[in-house]
Symmetry: C2
Subunit: 341 residues, 2 copies
DNA sequence: CTGAAAGCGCTTACAG
DNA sequence: CTGAAAGCGCTTACAG
């Protein structure tokens, strides 16, 4: 069963291969009747053009690359589904490149993929989205890229993101509306821009409601389950404890839940707990966690769309990168409730 | 910055492009001194061969496809990392194709990827690994594939898996060794072969220890958190309740944990709970879940290796598919303990 | 609206 | 051990 080429199709349709090419690429200036004849031949022969031939001749690979080193599989899965959903519409495919930010060969991996594969574009997710070495390598290779939820150098390239500060603000308001006054906050690692913005949102909401934030109510976490446990133990270890804890991500909030369980502090009757991210675990635990759902699928789909739509790859006519903010959603669940009187 | 081709490299090294090709493809019969000269030119020019040109001329794409519709992001992430780790060693890249088994266009998606991309091989994970339509499409396209943890038609194609029955057997023994006698089991959906094999392992261990399995101690679950909750409520709703529950996957075990928490049944003091899979949530909850870790990364790496190693793609000289069983690991954590006297 | 020619950057099959 | 030629299956640039 030798493979069908454009020549067979052209012959069967009684046209030149150039005309077949025109039809397949939806180029204008093909007589409708000719078009149909070609399409029938394509159908009859079950012809599928060779990507490598198209790539070589057209110097585009029909491949998008996704670089990621995000520790959350759920986050990555959503990004992938979002990116693929856009790719499918344009005959593109998604090549994944799991990387390790600590790997000294990171830049080489990026250059190999961008260079050898001739990727038509690259999607970047946190935290690798902020790695300057990677951005440099991509810039140097001339590979267009769109950043998903970047935290630094916002003017450097096109990106899609969400408003972390606003989401944290609304989550805080949610707790205050329940009647909480003494709310503790567990921050994320200093190098994560998102951690800062979430903390800012928390502070702004407290201030707007005229509530003071006690310094001992703010704890420095590391975005890990373990650090959530540690911070919670410090916060809950005395009789004078907060009635609510807002952790800057779900993993830490799950740690708070675990620590509370072990210390016999009942959630939500004695303590409300809120997280951020809406990981699968967030709804798998008891009580299910009130948290913020990021529009991850949508961000990835939009990012892929920016690359695929038009020759400007997410830049305006002047070549300046464009940006898009997408909506988050507050997931109110059983881990938050009014404080016990 | 026009792109560097094999011609530039050949010229700089003072050889023909064929010799450059030989060196890059590690073909024999190149004088050592020539080889070094070529390598130096490659280095100096920062040359990276065009995949599409190699593909077109050599009729291999250097692309492996991964088809999946597994609902567990953690599982998928491990599969991806495993497959990529093997790919990297051979200059291959991984194209992902998230699919939907219920999608009527499923076969078209498969054919498009296998046909247009000319994938050199495909990796399949549960449950799509058992979809006969997909297997048919791949067979018809002539694309070699390796199945990861298949549950049906074992002789149809090469596969990599683990011994579910044996793992469930050992988990049951773990519970019995702790002193449990009255152990309940929550099975998975009937169409999942793994669910059957795990149940068989449980039964075998009970039988080997001379313990009877009460019919009302076996509940039909659906591999979902929700079904775990429901089964647990039925099992724990009366005074006469089991001292241990072994769920056929983690999601259901997490449901058991949640139900127990809500019903005031203390784990592990009053109830031991065991799962299967070692999802991230398993170690994120309190108490952390005793479970079975599947060698997912290793299975995927081995599966990719079967495709990439040699021209036989996981088949022996006679063309018969080969199989590999990898080792699992029992993760003993705090959700299991001796029963209260 | 359609086509003949050239060429994308490699590998294959052959020669020597 | 090395190379000249042909060709992989398309698209580009140009003609008409």
């Amino acid at each position: 069963v030798s493979t069908i080429t454009i020549n067979e199709v052209a012959e069967r349709a009684g046209v030149s291969i150039k005309t077949v090419s025109r039809v397949l690429n939806r180029e204008p200036n093909v007589r409708e009747e000719t078009r149909e004849r070609v399409l029938m031949a394509v159908e009859a022969l079950d012809y599928r053009p060779s990507q490598s031939a198209r790539s070589l001749a057209g110097s585009r690979s029909f491949l998008l690359g996704l670089f990621f080193d995000n520790p959350s599989p759920a986050y990555v899965a959503d990004v992938q589904r979002g990116a693929v959903s856009t790719c499918r519409g344009s005959g593109y495919h998604l090549v994944i490149e799991p990387v390790d930010s600590a790997d000294p060969d990171l830049v080489r991996t990026v250059r190999r993929a961008a260079g050898a594969l001739r990727l038509d574009g690259v999607l970047l997710t946190p935290p690798v989205v902020d790695n300057p070495l990677v951005l440099d390598a991509l810039d140097q290779a001339g590979t267009p890229y769109v950043r998903i939820a970047p935290h630094r150098e916002f003017e450097r390239a096109p990106w899609v993101g969400m408003d972390d500060a606003r989401a944290a603000y609304e989550m805080t308001v949610h707790l205050l509306d329940l009647g909480h006054v003494d709310v503790a906050f567990i921050t994320g690692p200093a190098e994560h821009g998102a951690a800062h913005r979430r903390y800012d949102g928390f502070l702004a909401a407290m201030r707007d409601r005229g509530l003071a934030v006690r310094p001992d109510r703010v704890r420095q976490g590391a975005f890990s389950f373990r650090s959530g446990v540690d911070c919670a133990e410090a916060l809950l270890g005395t009789a004078d404890r907060p009635t609510a804890i807002f952790a800057a991500n779900d993993d830490m909030a799950l740690g708070v839940l675990a620590a509370a369980g072990r210390m016999g502090v009942c959630v939500p009757a004695e303590l409300s707990v809120a997280g951020f991210d809406d990981t699968p675990s967030a709804s798998a635990v008891w009580p299910p966690l009130t948290t913020v759902r990021q529009p991850i699928f949508e961000m990835a789909a939009a990012a892929a769309g920016m690359i695929l739509s038009g020759p400007d790859h997410g830049r305006d006519q002047a070549g300046r990168p464009t940006h898009r903010l997408l909506d988050f959603r507050l997931m109110s669940r059983a881990s938050t409730a009014p404080p016990r009187k």
